[in-house]
Every structure is written in C-alpha cells, then in structure tokens.
Subunit: 279 residues, 4 copies
Amino acid sequence: MCRWLAYSGEPLRPSTLILDAQHSLVAQSLNSPLGAETVNGDGFGLGWYPDGAVAGSVPALFHSIEPAWHDENLRELAENIASPLFFGHVRAAAGPPIQQTNCHPFRYDNWMFMHNGFLSGFERYKRDLVLAVDPELYPLIHGTTDSEVLFYLALTLGLRDDPVAGVEAALRKVEAVARDHDVAFPVQATIAVSDGATLWAFRYSTQGMTRTLFHSVDIPTLHQLYPDAERLRVFGPRARVVVSEPLNDLPGTFVEVQESTATILDAAGGYDYRPIMAA
Amino acid sequence: MCRWLAYSGEPLRPSTLILDAQHSLVAQSLNSPLGAETVNGDGFGLGWYPDGAVAGSVPALFHSIEPAWHDENLRELAENIASPLFFGHVRAAAGPPIQQTNCHPFRYDNWMFMHNGFLSGFERYKRDLVLAVDPELYPLIHGTTDSEVLFYLALTLGLRDDPVAGVEAALRKVEAVARDHDVAFPVQATIAVSDGATLWAFRYSTQGMTRTLFHSVDIPTLHQLYPDAERLRVFGPRARVVVSEPLNDLPGTFVEVQESTATILDAAGGYDYRPIMAA
Amino acid sequence: MCRWLAYSGEPLRPSTLILDAQHSLVAQSLNSPLGAETVNGDGFGLGWYPDGAVAGSVPALFHSIEPAWHDENLRELAENIASPLFFGHVRAAAGPPIQQTNCHPFRYDNWMFMHNGFLSGFERYKRDLVLAVDPELYPLIHGTTDSEVLFYLALTLGLRDDPVAGVEAALRKVEAVARDHDVAFPVQATIAVSDGATLWAFRYSTQGMTRTLFHSVDIPTLHQLYPDAERLRVFGPRARVVVSEPLNDLPGTFVEVQESTATILDAAGGYDYRPIMAA
Amino acid sequence: MCRWLAYSGEPLRPSTLILDAQHSLVAQSLNSPLGAETVNGDGFGLGWYPDGAVAGSVPALFHSIEPAWHDENLRELAENIASPLFFGHVRAAAGPPIQQTNCHPFRYDNWMFMHNGFLSGFERYKRDLVLAVDPELYPLIHGTTDSEVLFYLALTLGLRDDPVAGVEAALRKVEAVARDHDVAFPVQATIAVSDGATLWAFRYSTQGMTRTLFHSVDIPTLHQLYPDAERLRVFGPRARVVVSEPLNDLPGTFVEVQESTATILDAAGGYDYRPIMAA
C-alpha cells in the first residue's frame, strides 16, 4: 500500500535516495511500477538518527500529510541533514485517515518501525490486538493504523530483546487472532526496524505472496561493475539500502529479498539473512 | 479547554453566530474572556443538519486543523449554508494531537456530540474506558481524544434511547474507572448532543466547578427588551443557542446554565431543565 | 495540467458528478486516462452558486491543498449542498506552489473562472502581463498562477461586458506578449467562466492541439438512449455538464467540444457554439 | 505583527531558544507580552545555515502554516539540527493569506531576510513597489506579503553589496512611493538580514515608534552576572541573539536596540551599531 526505503552506512544526505535517485522514493510516490497502487500520495515520513548521535539516541521524525512530491519542507530537510541510518516512507492509505499520527515511521525510545502492506480484515479484530498490547505501552499508540498496532504488539512480545523473534511473535499473534475471526490471509508485510545501530528488514505474508523488497549490492562490487559511475562516488563502502523497489535501472544493483526472510544490516557492513515464520 | 455553541430554531446561516456576533465563536477562538485558555487555536469543527433534511438524517461535518480565525473555507461555508440545528466548536488541545479526527463534533448515524472540558488523568485509564465500549462500536472510534471515548461510552450505555440517562451513565462510568486509578476529580464537562430534532446540553464536573455554559433568552422576550435591535431580526421566534460564553454584552440576553443540569431544547421552542448526576 | 467540470441545470448535489460518477472528478484526480498528467493531486476547488440565491450573487468557494481523493471535507460538503451551477477543479501543479490561493476556481464579484492548461514560458513574461492588468484590479490577485493572471487580464479587457470577447482579448494579449519574448506557442487552455446564470466554456491553444473538453448530451436524448438507466433520474431536463473528460463510458453521453470554440450554456437549457480566435 | 529571533555564534540547537527558553519564540507565539498582537499563530518559519557549510552556502528553510505551538515537526527539527546562524519567525497575519510562501524568513541565494511590522497602506501602492523590483528578480517573488516585496526591493537596490545601504534604500523607496499615495507613516519594521557570516538587524519606523527589538548581552558578561546559571553553559562565548522581546526575565540579559539603528553581528563576536535613515 506504500513504498519505503531504509539506509544504513556512512552519514548520507537523505535527498540522495529520496529525491535524486532515478526512481527515488518521491518519484515512486507519484509512480511506483512495482506497487500494488501506483500513487502513494497520502502523506510521508522521514525518520533519522542524527549524525554523531550517541548509541541509544532517539531518532528524529518528520511526518507530513502532504503528497511527498510537492512538499517543500521535505526537500529542504532531506538536503540539509546527514544521517548514518534513516527511514523514508510514502503512504497510500487503505482506510485509516491521512493524519500525521498515521505516518510512518513510528518511534519508541530509540526504536523505529515502518511497514508496507496491511493486516487484512483489521477492523474486525483490531480490538483484540490492542488488548494484547502491554497496558503500559497502550497509551503510546497515537494513531489508528494497523501498522502502529503491529509495532506495539512486537514491542510487547520482545522486539527490544530480539527484534526477529519479536516481529515473528507479533505476526503469529495477528495470524492467530485473525484466524479466530475467520480471516484467511491476514498478514501482508515488508517491515523495517532499527535501534540506531542495526537495521532489520522483514518480508512476509501469510499467503506467501509478499510485496516486493530489494536491497542494494555492496558498494565495492558496484564500483567494480560501474567504475565510471559518478553517482556512486557519494556512497561510502558500508552504504546499503533496503527498498520496496529498485532506485535505478542499473542491472546488478539491487537484489530481491526472499519471501519469509529477515535481512540484517549491522554497522560493520554486509548483509545477514535469517528465515522467519517457519511452520 | 475549548469553546462551543449549539443552535436550534428556524434555519439560520451559521455565520450569524460563528462569525458575525460581537463575541462570535471565531472571536472566542482568539480571545475567550471566560475560558480556561484564552486561545482556542487548535482546530475547529462545524456540524449541521441540512435545511430540509428528513428526520433521522445524518448531519454534515466540516473539520479543520487550522485556527478558526484564519480559515477561509469556514467563512465561505458558514455564510452559504442554512441549518435548523448546528454545532460549532473551537479547540484548545490538551494533549491529543491536532488532527481532523480529534475535532468535534463527533458523529454516529444521526447523532452529534461535542464536549468542552477533559477527563482528568485520562491516559491512566483510557484503556479501561475503551474496553467498556461496545465491541461493535469500538472500530468507529477514529480519533484519540477523551471526548470521543466519552461519546462512544454514552452510545454504549443508552444514549440513543435516553440521551440524559446515557450521558449520565457514561459520566458515572468515567468516575468509577477513574476512582480505581486514584483520580479524585475526573470529569470536567459541558456537552452538547443532538439527534437532529432535539438538543441536549449538559453541564457537570465531579468537583462541581464546571466550565461556564449559557443559553440565550427566548427571542420574543429579546424583541421586547431591545425593540430597535436590527441584529435580532435575523432570528425566528424559535431561535435558541447554547454556548460556552455569551455571544454579546447585551444585558439580559444570556442566562447561565446551572451546575449538574441538562438543558433540553426540543423543536417546539423553549427550554426544559433536568438535574443530573444527583447522588 | 488539471481536470475540471462545470455543471448547469436544476439544483444538484455536486457529489453526483464529483464523487459518484463512474469517472468522477475525484476518480480523475487519481487517474485521468485522457490527461497530460495521470495524477491531479495538488489541491482542488469547488465553487458554487447557492441554491435559491438571487441573480448576481457571489458564489461560494471551497479550496484545499489536500489531494481530492482523501479530503473528507470535500465529501461532506459535496453531499450536503445543492447548486444550480457549480465548478469543480483538481490540480496538477506545474510550478506555482500548492496553496489555497492557487486553487481554482477564482472569483471576482459574481464571476467564477477556472482553467486547465498553462501559459508556456509564463515566468519570462509574467511581469508584462501583470502590468497589463487594471491597477484597480491588481491588488485582488491573491495567488501566483498563470491562470489567475489570465482571469484578471480578461476582467481588464471586457469579460464582464462580453465574456467571449473578454477571454479572446486576454488570450490575444498573452500571445502578443509571449511573442515579444520569443515563445512560440504560449496558450494551452480549456476555460470555464460564469456569472451565475450563464456558463461559457472555451477550448483553445495557439498550436491548435488543445487538451480535451467534452459536454454532455441533453438529458431528454439520454433518457431515450438509456430508458432504464436509474442513474439518469437524478438529473433534471436542463442538466448539462462540461468536463475535461467523460464522466462515464456510456456511448453517446458526451460530445467533444471543438477546437477554437466557445460553448455557451444559458439557463434555458441547450448549447450554443461560437468560433473564437479566428485569424 | 510577528515575533522573530536571530542567532549567531557557536553551532546551537535552535530548540534552545525557540522551545526551551523561559519566553521562547514558541511561547511568544501563544502569548507575547510586548507584541502588538498577543497571539502569533498564523504560521512560522525556521531558516538555518547548516553547521559546517562553506561560506556562501544557501540556508535551509522550514515553513509551516500551523501555529508554532502545536507543530510536532518544528520540535523534532529544532532539537535535531545545529546551526551557527539561524532565524526563527512566528507570524500574526495582517491581511495576506496564511500560506507557506508568506512565511518568513525569505531567501535569495545565500541571503535570508525576515521582518516584523508592516508597510501601512501596502495594497494601495504594492503595484508601484513591485514595478520597482529588478525584472530579473521579479519572478522569484513567490508570496504576497509586503515583507517579501521589501526584501526584493532591497536586493534590487544594493543589499548584496552593502546590506545597510540596501535596506535603507528600500525603506526610502517605500516612503517615497507611499507619500505619492498619501500614506503618512508607511514603514513599521524590525528586520534581520544575513549572508551566512554576518547578521544585520534593523529597527526603524517612519513615525519613530518602532516595535521592540532587543539583543543579548555577551556571554562572558552573563557568566559574571550569573555564575551559577546552569542554563548559560550551553552557550559558547560568541553566542548572541537578536529578538523581538527578551527570552527570559533575568535582569541585565537583554538590551533594547535603539530606534533608527542597524545592529551588526559579525562572526568574530560582539555588536556594532550604525544609525540609519538619518534625514
């Protein structure tokens, strides 16, 4: 229902990926070839860990209900900050109203979370899911999306101790509750989570037909592939991006993330994969 | 925390009371002498039963997060519709975010509801109140205010059958739940409710120190008091308004609503009073 | 760059055409098959002469910078007013910022004006055009679009006395000024103008390749064509609409307006055509 | 009509002055004791030269039409950037519409400009002033305020070569044009201008009764005055602020800027004063 990207690496201006790339996130907001919806004009969000912030710092958020393609503030901001880890998200609303509290990414302490997809039939079992959220966390739910409830469910079920286990537990909880309400295929999700140091990206749907997700190939390999590409010089050797669809048409630049997989990017560079939601 | 007015009578342009009165609702949004806050700039709402609509019709809503004093659309709309029963509300937010879903009035079928005041300590017991809402109604809560939860609680507890009893039951439920969380004086409320035919206005606080509420004197009496007042000619004989503070300085025009009282305006004209929340 | 529709006839809820039609204006805002841009998400406007207003009355305006497809206020309003003559416009901005003052329709006294298209190279000769506006009218230009300048130019050059001559004079003025700045094909325009009684619709571009414009076939003919069409019963015998692209796929319902033509709809019903901009 | 502050010194989080000070700019937006209007809720702007940017860099802008007191994005941004020179402005609109293009500060290349006050009778002579703007600069006027026209007039008349002379020439031009239109006291202005290195602050009105303007005392002096003040430790020895009204009640912290004076803050620290508009 949406498009997102998550960057980890040397401090970078978000505009590089959000505005300047061939198929930048803002370009995707108007026209996303691989999206279930071609227009993602129902608000956006940018979340970033400031350059130089200490470990455990709270990320900054910028949420807007304007279409990303015409938001001047987004341009100004994305060109004038630098961040070693940031999330960008453009929304195509599927029900819940367009308001800043429904814009991704969501934040809890030093954690950020964003989601593309939906919980099918959410209205029928939202109450049960909300009841499953830790009562201490409950008052912190500020919006009305399925995505934010999913985040607070994962926080309740261990995200902070083990993000992969926490997200898996939340997805299983959704599937169990939805089954009780006769919803066959409740989960459709690509998810990004970060604590400021590590980035976890998930691709999963109950039906096994998940929205696309890609990650970039490592920069040294790209330099070998495209030794003359001026555009690549802005990226440091640890620069990596996970994104709903490729940011350019250069063959070999993006690799599809497998179904039912968590992709883990730690600060050292490289990718680690882990199967999730095995029966 | 807010200012509101509710009109019942012959079809009237809302601008007459919302924009043109000496102390119009929009004037009060910038400066409300009797308000707990002098500025009510955190959005507003207008709800109206269209002129000529059949009994049981759903009212129309206009919600905006702009300050009322500079919203051009509010001016255009208020001058170009006419309604026999409308609500206007300007908000001074006390926590919940400024977004259209948090703007009053709230609506359920042909019912409208708005509130000035707050439920003290709401975050501490919000979850318990939300759990007390009928699960069928729960998915219809779109915003995050205490006021909207209070409305859905009243709907759950009989508002549609007996508005006075329904609101009383909701207020008692809040007081019971708040007491369990050691909140001494939870309710601060002036409330307006309508089904499109009758208007109910409530003034109540646990502590017995409720925000001000006034209603206008009947128009025939006002004509006798001020036989030369040009401005009064726009009003029909059944025109009545209930409002957080008087719309003008003319002595004898507005009467204070008593504490712990429901004031009832039916379509025939006149006022009926009923004590509420007696021990 | 935009899509618009103009209705004249028996009082009608704008929602009938703006929201409920098969290819309603709001549907076109997300996807306009015949548009130069497929997305028209940069604000919208609704202008209407209130039902029952006297001749010469000022129309009401509702302007918003939100995409039309997710604006709740537009829905509420369009379903709860009725008007014998209204304009709707969804914008795809081509430079000038997205702000309410740049939303169509524009208004001067009882006149409304809206435009789809652009003045090519406008920034190069805007100053000269603005200088050609009557200094008395100049302070009333509130936005920064080429369209609004075109309106004030037409007002300066006789629109109020003879709308066809006034618009022609304005278009010729643009062409003359643009020629001085070496712009070959400056005008691209479909335009609607009304004084509250008559509706004038123009289709013209310097190059003779104007954006599409259609008008509906008269209702009695449509009833003969589609005797069983439930949907047509909402329309009175004088109902007519001019629109950037057809509102439905029913063969025979919409007729293309010719190039270099003004189409005139007076209150009596029917269409009148006049060639414009003949050499 | 507005309130503003301008900071120059060691890189600082804008939130220190805009949000956290006793009478911060956001506090002044709701209640400015020395203001001509007590509420400045008609949008705001933040303009900043990014920390580490090279000389001549273009500043970043954040403009919003929401009241500053409830804008979450302003909070996030002001707490998560640092800047050696930034402007903050809260607006109380006196006519021109509330839209981002009317929010201060305005920008041209590496220059920023903001204004508190008004040009009296502006609508009567706006056209003449706009005609006096360099035709090359004319297309860059994006909004509709007197302030922006004043900025472009100053740019036309030499601001970039000599800011004091350029602003003086612009003010004299306004006074001459206004006199031709029989406006007695046209200028009411406190103005801030910067090129990213130096900050110029002006206080002038034709009548000699200009809105208040203050600058802070130098930090070493403040440390001597208040050796135990924890709050002062966040400021470096070159930290200086010019502001519409004092940010706190500490005696000796702020000094009033004299009438008809330009105050100049260069990068080295300290203040320089120059009389302006002498007959």
